[in-house]
């Protein structure tokens, strides 16, 4: 469940990271659960924190949360201090459009995704326009793209 630094990612499967706001669409979480054999699903560190907190707030313990994530083989990205300078650099470059005060989480998520080259699913695509080499989809766009690929 945890992504170790040296763990090799199975690139034969589609690899995506999900933002916390994706949990607003539980139908999509269920879709991911059904497709878990085809998709590697990663949870960035801050997403683990936010969604875990959300679960606790609804009376669902951390252990049950982890079990729920395991149902779609969700992989918890492991926090890595080495990304901090990159996060700071990106946040500083984008400070006018995406002030650190409100967007530090987005930089943490984005840089974690960049480090392992996986696309991101989020309802706040505008917060990730600085990600040049990765794609950011909403859940619906991602599904739409999957459908188009299946039709080819």
């Amino acid at each position: 469940m945890l992504q170790n630094k040296d763990q090799v990612i199975d690139r034969t499967k589609d690899c995506i990271a999900i933002d916390s706001n994706v949990f607003r669409n539980l139908d999509f979480i269920n879709y991911l659960t059904l497709k878990k054999s085809e998709i590697n699903i990663f949870l960035p560190t801050i997403v683990q924190l936010e969604v875990g907190y959300y679960y606790i707030g609804r009376g669902i313990s951390w252990d049950v949360f982890k079990k729920d994530i395991q149902k779609f083989n969700g992989i918890f990205l492991q926090w890595n201090n080495e990304i901090i300078p990159e996060v700071i650099k990106r946040a500083y470059y984008e400070r006018i459009n995406l002030p650190f005060r409100h967007h530090f989480r987005d930089f943490l998520i984005g840089v974690e995704c960049e480090k392992i080259s996986i696309n991101l699913i989020s309802y706040n695509k505008n917060h990730f326009i600085w990600l040049r080499d990765l794609k950011c989809y909403t859940p619906e766009e991602y599904l739409d793209e999957k459908l188009s690929q299946d039709n080819i």
């Binding site: 139908d27 879709y31 059904l34 729920d68």
Partner: protein, 110 residues
């Protein structure tokens, strides 16, 4: 107001232009004007049709996506009552995850 412009056309087109001008007893300029008007209408009509088709296809895809997502929940809830209970708890009350936490994120440095 008319103005002069120069365009290069091949012989065949020049002959067609002359023929139409003579047959309709109108100037060659008028022939071009009428031909362009017909062409313009045709182009915009096709564009409109294409846009309509695109919109219909987009709407269809949106509906399909919505349907797939809805179906996923039906299947999972049937297979996994524990997941159903968790998700029902998560959906309780008016707050979404965004209301609950994300909209309040600030650095804490004021």
């Amino acid at each position: 107001m008319n103005s002069r412009t120069t365009v290069a056309i091949d012989n065949e087109l020049r002959k067609k232009l002359k023929k139409l001008s003579a047959a309709l007893d109108i100037t060659q300029g008028e022939v071009i004007k009428r031909a362009l008007s017909v062409y313009e209408k045709e182009i915009f009509k096709n564009k409109e049709l294409n846009n309509k088709e695109k919109t219909t296809n987009n709407e269809k895809t949106k509906l399909i996506v919505k349907e797939i997502l809805k179906k996923a929940t039906e299947i999972i809830w049937k297979q996994d009552p524990e997941r159903k209970a968790i998700q029902e708890k998560l959906s309780e009350g008016p707050e979404t995850i965004d209301d609950f936490i994300l909209n309040d994120w600030e650095s804490g440095l004021s």
